[in-house]
Structures are given as structure tokens and as C-alpha cells.
Symmetry: D3
């Protein structure tokens, strides 16, 4: 199965913070840290925890450019 | 000036494709290619072209995780 | 592999319209039509065409409610 | 009044979870469940509760395709 | 009918640019111009044209802050 | 430095509400209030508080039109 999302960056989960509804997931991607805000339910369904090998996904229409 | 956007990845523009309304910008970020879909007007205002040093910005709520 | 995206609706592609940069994909999901705007490159990479069985994905933070 | 949003799916609220800032709303749409993450203020302004007849709205640029 | 979208700004359409798939709509909101990128089909369904009184809608999770 | 984001509205922070993971920031922009949902970490990094002069940013692809 293939997904239309253009941006797929491999990384390692550094930290997961759970709120009441949302969760923040910090992923190390090469030299950068990428922060993801997903629902707590999603974080729990994937059982996300530090050390997990994951792929960060971003739709092209959500990417901005600064120059 | 600081911006609330959490994800800021430095890279180099590889290619800019202009459509009638939208533009696609391909940015090399380390070993990854990041694709951005912005308006043609935005691409022209920033005069984006191959070789430009840019920063790719993504709001945390737009980042998904695959495991 | 599992994805954090909460909303996954199975459907059938009805039509694909290609522009210079973007593409519009119309998917029949039960009694509803769901419209997706993705990059033309994504539509071509997935070789999307009428009749394809696909899954429509939407991040929870992109869903609004009207009452 | 008409809205530019392409995707409008009729459903019934199954559950509303309130956090400090955000709320998660689970809507039954035909055979599918659709999850929406909106602000708690929005959930309270609409007085969303189980049993409410609602319409789920999604902008086309937020819809991804998996094949 | 009420919508969960928090941000609703009244304005007047200044210009509509149609592409093959997408459209750009420029709306005067007080002293500011707001640019919207929607599908061409949406722009045509609403028959958007210069002079139209419209409301610009933005979900809170799409709003960033610069300081 | 310039950013591809088309919509930049100057305003004044009226209130900041911090949750466990997310924060809601209410900004007065002319006669309108604009609500932003960002991560708590972003709100703290910018030290956002009532009275701050800020700029609200919205990507064009996140703007909808109601007529």
C-alpha cells in the first residue's frame, strides 16, 4: 500500500507527552527534531514510546518555505 | 522575531514547478527531499529557484506518525 | 505498519483531474463523494484512475463539525 | 449560505471528550467513525453531545489517498 | 446551523484566479488582504467573483503566531 | 527573511490558555478576534501573554470561503 503523502522522514521517538485529548511526540530525524501533535488516542493505539523507529509524514500542502 | 511553528528544517531548493495557481517546491533537507505546495504568488514573491538556501516550516498539528 | 491518522474511509475512485501542479481526486465512499486535492506527482505515483479501490485518510485536527 | 468546503458527511455524535484546551468528537458516519479534534470552546459553543445530528466538514486539501 | 470553526472574518472578494484544479481568491478584510486557495470546483460552485460579500473561515489549529 | 505564508494579520494578544499539550491564544485583530491553537511548548517559547504585539499567520490552503 502506498500513500499520497509526499514527505516521509525516518526517525526515532525521543519523547511522548500525553495530555487529556492531545499528545506531543518528539522525533529525532537526522540532526533535526520534529514535533508532532496528534490525538492521545492515536499515540496510545500506536503505543508510541521513546526509542520507537517511526516515519514522520507531512502532506505537501502543509509545508511552508522561509527564505 | 520568533514564530510558533515547531518544525524548521534547513535545506536547499532543488526545483520549482509553477502551475497557474499553485507551485511545487522540492527542497533537499539532509538525505531527504521535502515537497512543498504553495501558491504560485508565494513562490514568485520569494523568487524561489534551484540553489536557494531555505528553511522548510511545518506546524506540529500537520505532522503524522507511522510505526 | 500503522499510521496515527484517525480517519480512514474505504472507497472507489470515480475521477482524477490533473492540473499542472495539483490533482483533484473524487472518491465514492458509501453514499458520499469525498474530494481530495493532492499534488499531480502524488496522483501519478499512485497511478490513480477511476475504479481504483482506495482509502481516504484525514487527520483529526482537519475535521470540523457543523450542527 | 454556502461554504467552499467540498466534503460534508452527515452523522451522529457518539461521544465528546473535553480536555483543557482541545476536545475530541467521535461521529458515526454510515459504517465509519470519524474523529474530530476541535477546541474545547468550539465543542462547548455548539453544545455538542452524544446523539446530536451533525455534519462533518473536511477541506479537500486535507484529504490524503492510500492505495 | 453553527460551525466549529473559530475564525470568521467578513470581507469582500477582490479577485478570483482560476487554475486547472485550484483557484486563488483574494478577499479584502478590513485593512488586510486574505488569500484563499480552494479547488476551482468550489470557486465555481459558489460563483465567486469580485464584489461578493463573503466570510473567510480558518480553523484554529491552522493559525500560527509570530512575535 | 521572508516566509511563503500569504496571510499575516497584525494584532494584540488578549488571552493565553495553557493545557497539558496544547494552548489557545486569543488575538485581537482590528474588530475581529482570531483564535490560534498551538502547542503549549510554542506558547511558552514565545512567552506569549496578554498585551503582546503579534502577527497571526495562516497558509492560503487553510482558508475557506463562505458566501
Amino acid at each position: 500500500m502506498q500513500i499520497s503523502v509526499r514527505n516521509k522522514l525516518a526517525g526515532t521517538v525521543k519523547e511522548v507527552k500525553l495530555g487529556a485529548v492531545m499528545a506531543e511526540v518528539i522525533v529525532q530525524v537526522g540532526d533535526n527534531q520534529v514535533i508532532s501533535a496528534i490525538t492521545k488516542d492515536a499515540a496510545e493505539d500506536l503505543a508510541l514510546k521513546a526509542g520507537d523507529k517511526v516515519t514522520v509524514l507531512v502532506k505537501s500542502t502543509s509545508v511552508m518555505i522561509q527564505k
